[in-house]
Each structure stands twice: as structure tokens, then as C-alpha cells.
Amino acid sequence: MISMHNVTQVYGTRCVLNIEDMSFEPGRIYALMGPNGSGKTTLLRIMAGILQPTTGELTGFDPASTGYMPQRAYAFGFSVLKNVTMALENADEEAAMEALRAVGMDHMAQANGSGLSGGEAQRLALARMIARPRRLLLLDEPTSATDIAGMGQVEKALVDYVDKTNCVLVFSTHSPAQASRFATDVVMLQDGVAMEMGDAKSVLLHPKTEAARTFLQHWQIRTEE
């Protein structure tokens, strides 16, 4: 179990994140949702250990077994395959190829990373994340540049990965449709505060707070259902 208690992040006089209590169970997929500036990326960066929170306590976090994929995927200027093996301690090419196959990038294994499109770079970055077992996987809008076909393949690869490794997967998204078909749990954030957290279907279909209702109504989740 991974949990955080009284975690805050303050920039100057502005508090961008204020989490009283939040916990994540192994084998579950958590979708972080909320408008721009609601604290999704800040929360992911704190969980990844890249950002030190102003206050608070995090337990169960192991940096060595955590993977974080930032919003802007970056591909290094060498082969796609090496872009994946660089994340592996033993540079296992078989494991790297398997990860590339899972996200539909195996046919580009020998292509240079610097020539990839935004969507391809994003899938490559995801392959890097799933090429080895981790306890915690943090993905910041992992499919924002991916096409619909690729999105389905990536979501399947991530579900398979969670099933196989029993890790915690936390990802941020602006799409309630993606959250409903892919996440087991949803965390609704606004102004750095977790308004609601719970089973994906119940949060998305029956939001308890007015702010969450307004937020979801805006994206017409009920119509998509």
C-alpha cells in the first residue's frame, strides 16, 4: 500500500496541492482528473520523487521501483531499441522488444528516436516504463498525442502490465471516457484538493460534490456512456 498524509505544495503564497489522506492499492489503476492547474502533474511529480513537497508524509514509496513518464515524452537521439534498453539495468534487448511490441512500436526498433512523431515518442516512453517490473507507475497524460488505434493498444498494454506485475498505476487524463473504460478508480482534483476519490464508475456516474458534477457535465460523460 502506498499512501500520503497531509501533503502540501506551496509556491510563494499559492498552495497548489493540499492532500489530507490518499492511498493507492496494488493492482489498481487510478485516473487523476480535474481542470488545468488542479494539481495533477504536481501530485504525480511529488509521488515520483522529482518534487519535494512543502509539507507532508509519504509512505511505501520506493524510488528504485517507480517509473514516471512526463507530459512531454522525450526520445533520445539513438535507436528506439536503445531508448528502451537505457531504462534497463542489464540492457535486456528481449525485454525491450517485448515492451515495444506491446505498444506497437516493434517495427520501428532500429529507427532513430530523434525522428519520431509526438505520438510515437509517447508510445516509446511508455515502452520504457513497462520494460521492467515496477511497484509504482506514474503517467502524465500518457496518450494525449496518440491516435485512437494506438490509444486502445496502449491501454491494453498497461492493463496487462498491471495484471502481470500487480503494481499501482496512476495516470492523469482529461478524458472521462478513457477513465471510465481503463481506470478502476478515479481521483477528482480541483485547486489542489481531492474532491472525490473512489470506484471509477461511481465517481464518474454519480459524483457527490457540486464541483465534480459541473466538471463532468462539461465533458458530457453521460452522453458518452
Binding site: 520523487g49 517507480t66 512531454r72 533520445f76 537521439g77 531504462a87
Partner: protein, 226 residues
């Protein structure tokens, strides 16, 4: 073309000193580029990828030092290495080592500033990716160097260009001693003053050719990196 080649061949055959001057020039320029760029690029990458208090001040200082007059560096090194200076006991004045020291002082701040800027530009994109993968600090610096290789090769050749073409500091701390510290730039000044325009011009052309070769290599490296 063949006449020009014959002129050069006879010039080389007749002037053993010319070969010696070219040798000293290349030795001095290569050594100072290697030391200055290694120091400057390493410090620059570290400054570029690290956030700390005073970073902007350091970048401003190195930026100012980029336009440091070579003669001033020559005077400072002369003072430090002269018999009454703090390092006078090492008797380095009027040696190739003294010339290398002055060139390193000129190259290092420029290499540091340019490397810090190059690394800083890539920082946002690359750093979080590397940290997110879980790479250690050593690997992060290595991959950052790799990703900035194009800019770094430019820095290397800029440093070499500055070292090989510099005359003020080389003259002051090297003393332009025949068969010892005479380099192409100081020799050009001397031969011009003596009225040996053919030799001065030949030296100038050789200097230009070296610069051309270096530029071609730099261009090919950059092309290969893209």
C-alpha cells in the same frame, strides 16, 4: 595549383623552422582546447542541469568573460608567472605551458557558458525523462552530454579556433622565442615587422588552411549528429 603546391613544398623544405612553428602551434592549441573545453563543458553541464542560488550570476560572469581581451589575460598570467609573482618559483614564463595556461583561461569561461546554455535548453525535456526512468546522476550527465553533442562539438571547435588564432597573450607569456614558443600568429607579426612578407603570407595561408580543415571536420560531425 601545382605552382602553389610547389611553392609550399619548397617553403617546407627550406624552412625547418616553419615545420617547428606549426608543431608548436598545434601542440599549444590542441592542449589548451582539450583542457579548457573539458573544464568548461563539465562545469557548464553541471551548472546547466542544476538549480541553485547564484546560477544566473555565474552565467552572467562567464558571459562577460567570453569577451575578455586576450592581452589582459596575458598580462594577468605574466604577473602570476613572473619571478616576483605567486607562481614564479615554477619558472613557467616564456614556455608553451604558460601559453597553454593563458589559452585555457580564455577558452574555459566561453565553453562553460555555451555548455550551460545548451544543457539548460534541453534540461526541461530531458531531465524529467531521465529521472522518471530512474537513471543515476552519472548516467544523467552522460546522456545529457550525448544529447548536447552537436552544440558541444561546436564549442570544441570554437575553442580550438580561439586558441590557434590568438596572438596577444601568446606573445606576452610565450615571448615568441625561436624554436621554443614561437607560434604561427606571433611568427606572422615578427616576419611582417622584418619585411619577410612571403613567409608571413605563407604562414597566414597555412593558418587559414588549418582553420578550413577544422571547419570541414566540424561540419561533418554536425551533419553526422543530426
Amino acid at each position: 595549383m601545382s605552382t602553389l603546391w610547389q611553392t609550399f613544398c619548397s617553403l617546407f623544405a627550406a624552412h625547418s623552422e616553419l615545420r617547428q612553428i606549426i608543431g608548436v602551434t598545434l601542440r599549444m592549441a590542441c592542449t589548451s582546447t582539450l583542457i579548457g573545453c573539458t573544464l568548461g563543458i563539465t562545469l557548464g553541464i553541471l551548472v546547466g542541469i542544476t538549480e541553485f542560488r547564484g546560477k544566473r550570476a555565474i552565467l552572467r560572469i562567464t558571459s562577460t568573460l567570453m569577451s575578455l581581451p586576450p592581452v589582459l589575460v596575458g598580462v594577468i598570467v605574466f604577473f602570476i608567472l613572473s619571478r616576483s609573482g605567486p607562481l614564479g618559483q615554477f619558472r613557467l614564463l616564456y614556455s608553451v605551458t604558460a601559453m597553454v595556461i593563458s589559452q585555457v583561461m580564455l577558452i574555459t569561461p566561453a565553453a562553460m557558458n555555451l555548455a550551460a546554455t545548451a544543457a539548460g535548453e534541453r534540461m526541461g525535456q530531458v531531465h524529467e525523462t531521465m529521472a522518471g526512468i530512474g537513471l543515476n546522476r552519472k548516467k544523467q550527465i552522460w546522456y545529457m552530454l550525448y544529447e548536447c553533442r552537436k552544440q558541444l562539438s561546436v564549442i570544441l571547435f570554437l575553442g580550438f579556433g580561439r586558441a590557434i588564432s590568438e596572438v596577444g597573450a601568446a606573445q606576452l607569456v610565450g615571448g615568441n622565442i625561436q624554436y621554443k614558443t614561437r607560434v604561427m600568429t606571433t611568427a606572422i607579426v615578427l616576419e611582417t615587422n622584418k619585411g619577410n612578407f612571403d613567409l608571413a603570407l605563407a604562414l597566414g595561408i597555412i593558418l587559414l588552411l588549418i582553420a578550413l580543415v577544422v571547419n570541414v571536420i566540424a561540419g561533418r560531425l554536425q551533419k553526422g549528429n543530426t
